[in-house]
């Protein structure tokens, strides 16, 4: 009898006995993510489920990420199959109004320049000794686009998934802090003061409906490996612009996106097991991700300067910073920064254009990257 008591009681203590220092650290990390999400309003929709998932997976003996654990089931069903990021993309397409970039198609180039950090960081990661595919996954943090980063990493470097997604989402919310100093350092006072008038609507409905179709077909032919990404975001956008399937548009932008965000967040958190996450490598990934976003901003602003010169001073180089796809934070940063130097300057719509181009740019960059890898026989 007494022995049974003791045994039964030991069951309640087993969790504590198996708690390792790495678990304790990760539970604290999870709490920090929750704090950032709840108190600091850093991407709460993602950081709250990620932080909680991280806590769950670090409680010993519950085995939530072992076969048949519920987190494992969600992870296998949605992340390993790449379904979650793709469903999110349908929602992003349905939510995003691309007309600011269609008003001024030259801003598509800024959306390309904002992806430069991906490729530069990839090179940096290689130089630091990461394998080719790991370097690709680290570089893609520079897409500044959560679902793209998760899609690529889950497919080709799943062991880095936790680090890459945490970097992608936390830096995205730090865009308002990271970008302004770089923007100021690379432009002159005169350039920052350039006034750009917003244009009256000039995009017809036909153009807005044809846009997703053309991008899908053309982009798909150039970079077939990225078609899942491109195709889903464009499907969402076609549904939005055609206006014929309002129910599907609403469902994609709200219900589906919300449900998937929850499942995505919790399963990303579940990859943050202390044994895997607490390595020097993770810190390097976080550092490189930061570098990637800085380089993106710098390249965007530099191309902005080129456009400033070629347009004979009509384009404000600040909008180049919105070429990264942190939508719409980065456009807001540009608007605020521009107004700081000239109160009568409302760059918002132009910055939104560059920012929407950045959305397309990050997907195209990832697609091109995968197709180049395929061409070289690496994947």
């Amino acid at each position: 009898m007494l022995e049974a008591f003791a045994n039964g009681f030991s069951g309640l203590l087993a969790g504590f006995m198996h708690l390792q220092i790495s678990n304790v650290v990760m539970i604290i990390v999870g709490c920090v993510l929750l704090y950032l999400g709840i108190k600091k309003d850093f991407e709460p929709l993602l950081l709250v489920p990620i932080g909680f998932g991280c806590i769950l997976v670090n409680i010993p003996l519950a085995n939530l990420m072992e076969p048949h654990g519920f987190l494992r089931t969600i992870y296998d069903a949605g992340i390993m199959t790449e379904l979650f990021p793709l469903l999110i993309f349908v929602g992003i397409g349905a939510m995003t109004d691309f007309s600011p970039v269609l008003e001024n198609p030259v801003t598509f180039l800024l959306g390309a320049a904002g992806q430069c950090g991906i490729f530069l960081t990839l090179g940096l990661a290689l130089a630091l000794g990461f394998t080719e595919l790991d370097a690709v996954a680290i570089g893609v943090i520079g897409a500044c686009d959560g679902p793209t980063a998760i899609y690529v990493t889950a497919k080709y470097a799943p062991h880095l998934l936790g680090a890459v997604s945490v970097a992608a989402y936390s830096y995205m919310s730090l865009v308002p802090v990271i970008q302004p100093p770089i923007m100021r350092a690379l432009t002159t006072e005169k350039e920052r003061m350039v006034v750009m008038r917003a244009t009256r609507k000039s995009v017809s409905k036909t153009t807005r409906i044809l846009f997703p179709l053309v991008i899908t077909i053309l982009g798909g032919l150039i970079a077939p490996m990225g078609l899942p990404l491109l195709g889903t975001i464009m499907l969402g956008n076609l549904m939005r612009e055609c206006g014929a399937v309002e129910r599907l548009t609403k469902a994609s932008a709200n219900e589906i996106a919300n449900v998937v965000t929850l499942l995505l967040g919790i399963s990303i958190g579940a990859t943050m097991d202390g044994k895997i996450f607490l390595q020097k490598q993770t810190l390097i990934v976080l550092a490189l991700g930061f570098v990637a976003i800085c380089l993106d901003t710098a390249c965007g602003v530099l191309l902005g300067k080129v456009l400033y010169i070629t347009s004979k001073g009509k384009i404000n180089p600040l909008i180049g910073a919105a070429g990264i796809s942190a939508f719409p934070m980065s456009a807001r940063v540009v608007m605020k920064e521009g107004q700081k130097y000239n109160k009568k300057n409302y760059l918002l719509m132009h910055a939104m254009g560059a920012n929407a181009a950045g959305q397309i740019g990050s997907v195209i960059a990832a697609a091109v990257m995968l197709s180049v890898l395929k061409g070289m026989g690496i994947i």
């Binding site: 009256r200 409302y346 918002l348």
Partner: protein, 74 residues
């Protein structure tokens, strides 16, 4: 001289801060327009007296819609 302030961005008027007859300085905040879920302050283009206001709160505005008229100087 009359100066017309037209809307620099499309959006919804969140707040009209000034009223007709009020004297404003250049770069004083006169309105707030909500655009792309962001609150955008709109500043006076010149110093003077507000002689007309073309919008009211919760109006949807397009680019180039008239917001207000300022009689410069005075």
């Amino acid at each position: 001289m009359k100066i017309e302030l037209t809307s620099p961005i499309p959006g919804k008027i969140m707040k009209v801060i000034v009223s007709v007859g009020e004297v404003v300085n250049e770069d004083d905040e006169v309105m707030k327009i909500e655009s792309m879920k962001m609150e955008n302050p709109i500043y006076a283009p010149a110093a003077g007296t507000i002689t007309a206001i073309g919008v009211k709160e919760n109006d949807e505005v397009e680019v180039d819609d008239l917001l207000l008229v300022i009689e410069e100087g005075g």
